[in-house]
Subunit: 230 residues, 2 copies
C-alpha cells in the first residue's frame, strides 16, 4: 500500500537554476518525485535550503518525500572557496581547468545519498542537474563520472534494484536550460545561484555570471533581484 514516502524518482535539488529545471522535468514525467537537498557548509547554505523548500512547495512535494543531507564533513575538509572563507570566490566566469570553487568529489556524496534513499524507496530514476560543458568545469559534473557512478550503484546495491542516473541537462547550455525552464513553467524566481550573498544575488561571482549570461543569451529577464542591478 502507498505510504507517505512512496516515490517513483529521487531528484537532487540544490535550489539553483539547473536543479530546479531538472525537478521540473522529473515532475513532468513522474507522479511522486522525492527531493534531496544537501548542506555542506557552503557560504550560502541557509539561502539555498530556503530556495529548495520553496521549490519543493511549488511542486507540492510532501514532507515525507523531502530530505536534507548534512555534509558537514565536506565543509570541514575545506580546500574550496565555497567552504573555506579564506579562499576568495572568483569574480569571473571560470576559465580552463578546475576552479577554486570545486568541492572535492561532492557529487559522489550527493549521489550516494540519493541511491541509498532510492533503494529503500524502490525508486530507480535518480535525477541530477549536472551540466558538463557550459558550467564550472567540475570533474564530478561530467557525463563520464555519472555513467561510472551509475555502474557503481548497480554493483553496490541489492538484486532487483536497477538505479539509473538521469542528467537531462548534462550537455545543455545555460541559455537552453533557461528556455527549457520557462517552457516547463519552472519557478525560476524561487531559485538561488549566488555563491557569495544570501540577501540579494551579488551578480559578480562565478555562479552569478554564468547564470546571468544564460538568461541574457536566452533573451529572458532573470526574475531574481541582484545587488548590482544586473
Amino acid at each position: 500500500m502507498p505510504g507517505p514516502a512512496r516515490a517513483d524518482a529521487v531528484v537532487l535539488c540544490s535550489g539553483g537554476l539547473d536543479s530546479c529545471v531538472t525537478l521540473a522535468l522529473a515532475a513532468r514525467d513522474h507522479a511522486a518525485p522525492a527531493v534531496l537537498h544537501a548542506s555542506y557548509g557552503q557560504r550560502t547554505a541557509a539561502r539555498e535550503r530556503q530556495a529548495f523548500e520553496r521549490i519543493a512547495d511549488f511542486y507540492g512535494i510532501p514532507p515525507g518525500r523531502r530530505r536534507v543531507l548534512d555534509l558537514a564533513f565536506l565543509g570541514a575538509l575545506g580546500g574550496s572557496a565555497l567552504t573555506d572563507p579564506s579562499i576568495p570566490v572568483p569574480r569571473q566566469e571560470p576559465g580552463p581547468g578546475i576552479p577554486v570553487t570545486y568541492v572535492p568529489f561532492r557529487n559522489a556524496h550527493l549521489l550516494a545519498a540519493a541511491v541509498s534513499w532510492a533503494e529503500l524507496l524502490g525508486a530507480e530514476p535518480i535525477f541530477i542537474g549536472a551540466v558538463e560543458e557550459d558550467s564550472s568545469g567540475y570533474p564530478d559534473c561530467r557525463e563520464s563520472f555519472l555513467a561510472a557512478f551509475e555502474r557503481a550503484a548497480a554493483e553496490g546495491t541489492g538484486p532487483g534494484f536497477a538505479p539509473r542516473i538521469v542528467a537531462p541537462l548534462v550537455h545543455r547550455s545555460k541559455a537552453e536550460i533557461v528556455r527549457l525552464g520557462v517552457a516547463l513553467g519552472a519557478p525560476l524566481e524561487l531559485t538561488w545561484s549566488c555563491y557569495e550573498r544570501e540577501d540579494l544575488a551579488c551578480g559578480e561571482c562565478e555562479s552569478c555570471r554564468l547564470r546571468l549570461r544564460g538568461f541574457r543569451d536566452a533573451g529572458v529577464a532573470d526574475p531574481i533581484p541582484y545587488a548590482s542591478g544586473c
Copy 2:
C-alpha cells in the same frame, strides 16, 4: 613542506576486525596513513568509535590524520537492523541473500568521503576492509562494486589525481584475516565487532558469530570479552 595532515594513504576504519587488519597492512606499507571512521546511527556507534580511536592510537596516528564522518542521514533513513531499533539483529550467521543488517549503499558514502579527503591530501591509495565471500553478503562489499567505484572516483576528481581503492581482504576468509592480523601484530584486542552490545560482545549476533568462527577456524583465542563466555 609537510604539514600536520600530510598523508600517503587514506584508510577506512570502523574499529572492527577487518578494518584493523587492513590498517595493519596499510601501516606496514605506508609511512603516514590517514584514518577515517564513520558513525551512521548504528546501535553500537559509540563503542565502534572508541575502538577506532584506540586502534589509531596504537598506530600512532596524530589528530590531523584522523577524521570522523557523521552519516546521520543514513541512520535516519532506517531500513536496516543496524540503524532501526524495530528490526531485530539476526542471531545466526547470514544465509544466502542480503541480510537485514545491510545499510543501503553504505560503503559508497564511506568511499566518497575517503576520496574527497584523499584528493585534498594527494594520497592515492584508499584502503577498505571489505570482505566479499566469507562475510555478510552486502552488495557494497563486492569487488565488482569497489572496481566500479574506483572508476567513478577517477572520473569524478581532478586531473593528476589517480585514486586506487585497495581492498586487501576482499577474497580472504575470516580465519585468514585473523591469522594475518596475528602475523602483523595488529591489536585485535582493541577491535569491536558486536552489532548489539557496547559493554561486552554478545557472542550471538550475526557479526559476533562470523568473528568467533574466524578465530576458531584460525586456532586463535579471541582476545575480547564476551557476555556469553564464548
